[in-house]
């Protein structure tokens, strides 16, 4: 394992120190428990939007703390959901009297820890669970689908709603609408190595890829031959399109995401193919996001996320945002 770290035990804490140094105008990092909080929190009268999850997905979530997006992020150990204390601390530091909305990715660990915190919190707290990964078959008897790329779009849109003054119920309802309209799928060309594990999470031959992966370095649903970029993009986009389903005439946001180690030249190449496929189907790409926003450490690979837009979502997407990883209008 070769990594730019000092010690697997302190990697999250050390990285948070670097974030603090780089972005002290936007956020304040608290340690013990670890919470990344918007610099001007609590914002009086504003619903606090709080998320969190395992570390190793940067810039998610800490990179989205700031005006117009998250009030706080709770970073767990690498690929490990945070503990209830962190979430409670985040709520206490950011509740400006209008309550808090917890954005939870659908993993057993995240759901249980956020749920525990929600039960213990003294503020008014609601939570929404995002589960946009179409690679996982949904069923009443399973853990259900994972929360992946759609989380970034959800945090931006709901963050903008809270910023303009929407109340807790409105934020919660909007979040549900976004969750109902967003679907994702990802693939990996290489595995990643969790610092405390020291070895890659799986081994792939030089002509193989994992399709239907999540964001925790876990293997996907299927191991297949790595084909061309066009084949890869189709393999991700088709199931996404079929699932909602998306149809001709839909207006969408297309989010082409790198898993962390994919060069931007390849990501743009894939994005171009996806745009073409959508145009061929009569789906209008109204907004797009291309880059590394929800990652699995150094994994090479990508995910595609489609969000069906309505006018309000577009307005909220375009609203000013000022965070380490997303910034416009400010």
């Amino acid at each position: 394992m070769k990594k730019i770290i000092n010690d697997p035990e302190t990697v999250v804490q050390d990285a948070l120190r670097g974030m603090q140094a780089a972005h002290s105008d936007l956020l304040t990092v608290h340690h013990d428990p670890a919470v990344v909080v918007r610099a001007d929190a609590p914002v009086q009268g504003k619903v606090a939007i709080i998320s969190g999850g395992g570390s190793g997905h940067e810039p998610l979530h800490g990179g989205f703390v700031g005006r117009g997006m998250l009030d706080a992020a709770c970073p767990g150990a690498v690929f490990t959901s945070p503990t209830p204390d962190q979430v409670l601390d985040a709520v206490a530091r950011t509740d400006g009297g209008a309550g808090a909305l917890l954005i939870v990715k659908n993993y057993t660990g995240d759901v249980l820890n956020f749920e525990t915190a929600g039960e213990m919190a003294e503020s008014e707290v609601r939570s929404v669970v995002i589960d946009d990964d179409v690679a996982v078959k949904d069923s009443l008897y399973t853990a259900g689908r994972r929360g992946v790329g759609g989380t970034v779009l959800l945090e931006k849109i709901v963050g903008a709603a809270a910023e303009r003054g929407d109340d807790l119920a409105a934020c919660e309802a909007l979040a549900s609408r976004v969750i109902g309209s967003v679907r994702s799928m990802g693939l990996a060309l290489t595995a990643c190595t969790v610092p405390h594990a020291g070895t890659p999470s799986f081994e792939l031959a030089d002509d193989e890829m994992e399709i239907g992966i999540g964001i925790h370095g876990e293997p996907g649903r299927q191991r297949v031959r790595a084909g061309t970029a066009s084949e890869m993009v189709s393999a991700l986009l088709e199931p996404v399109l079929e699932d909602l389903p998306f149809a001709a005439g839909d207006r969408v946001l297309l989010f082409t995401n790198s898993m962390g180690g994919t060069p931007l030249i390849e990501l743009y190449l894939a994005h171009g193919i996806a745009e073409q496929l959508l145009a061929d189907r009569g789906i209008t790409v109204e907004r797009r996001l291309v880059g590394s926003y929800i990652t699995s450490l150094e994994m090479q690979g990508m995910s595609l996320t489609l969000l069906r837009l309505d006018d309000e979502m577009i307005e909220l997407w375009d609203a000013p945002v000022h965070t380490p990883a997303l910034r416009w209008g400010v």
């Binding site: 690929f79 490990t80 057993t108 660990g109 820890n113 069923s139 405390h196 370095g217």
Partner: protein, 208 residues
């Protein structure tokens, strides 16, 4: 002769040692069908338990179990944190203020722990989780006569078998469920850690 607070502390120190020894094994099991953190999560949690036990000396078994519960909840994270945390919390409640735990109290505590895990995680036997180890352990504990050590030993044996039974299963809960059919053929890390913890408790009880 029952189990005092000091005996419970000793059992937990032994368990922490076992977790440390098996950290890498649990990481590897979790890499195969999960995200590779289970061993590290438990190591972090039990290390925190040890340092709390170095400074605090809870007077009753139930208080020790409660300390373990809150420490695990606030340091482990992931699925295992709230699940093991709930298990110890319910076990603590089940034994109340007893000064010493007899075989009935231990069996009751195990049952409460299982109920807590199921209440939180909603898994049933066959889902390929720690429930597959804990369920037969609870049944064995209830059906065995004898000392606390004998009860825990029967529970540990049953848990080990229960853990083994997860190998062919297709996971329906936890991260392994994302793999679908590919989850079959692997031992569930949480079932393995449950069986390791019970074995550590049983061995400690035998020595007490």
């Amino acid at each position: 002769m029952g189990c005092t607070a000091a005996d419970v502390v000793a059992a937990l120190r032994a368990a922490a040692e076992v977790v440390k020894e098996h950290r890498d094994e649990l990481v590897r099991l979790d890499q195969a069908i999960g995200d590779g953190d289970h061993g590290e999560n438990l190591r972090r949690g039990f290390t925190a338990v040890l340092s709390r036990l170095d400074t605090e000396e809870p007077a009753a078994p139930g208080k020790v179990l409660k300390l373990v519960a809150t420490t695990l909840i606030s340091t482990v994270g992931g699925a295992a944190g709230p699940l093991y945390g709930t298990a110890f919390l319910r076990a603590s409640a089940a034994v109340g203020d007893l000064e010493e735990l007899d075989r009935d109290a231990v069996a009751r505590a195990l049952q409460a722990a299982l109920d807590g895990v199921v209440a939180r995680g909603k898994a049933v036997v066959g889902d390929k989780t720690m429930v597959d180890a804990l369920t037969p352990a609870v049944a064995a504990a209830a059906s065995v006569d004898g000392s606390v050590a004998a009860v825990l030993s029967a529970a540990a044996d049953a848990a080990a078998e229960g853990a083994e039974s997860t190998v062919p299963m297709v996971a329906r809960k936890g991260r392994a469920s994302y793999l679908g059919e590919r989850s079959a053929g692997h031992l569930d890390p949480g079932a393995r850690s449950t069986s390791l913890l019970l074995r550590a408790f049983a061995d400690a009880a035998a020595k007490a």
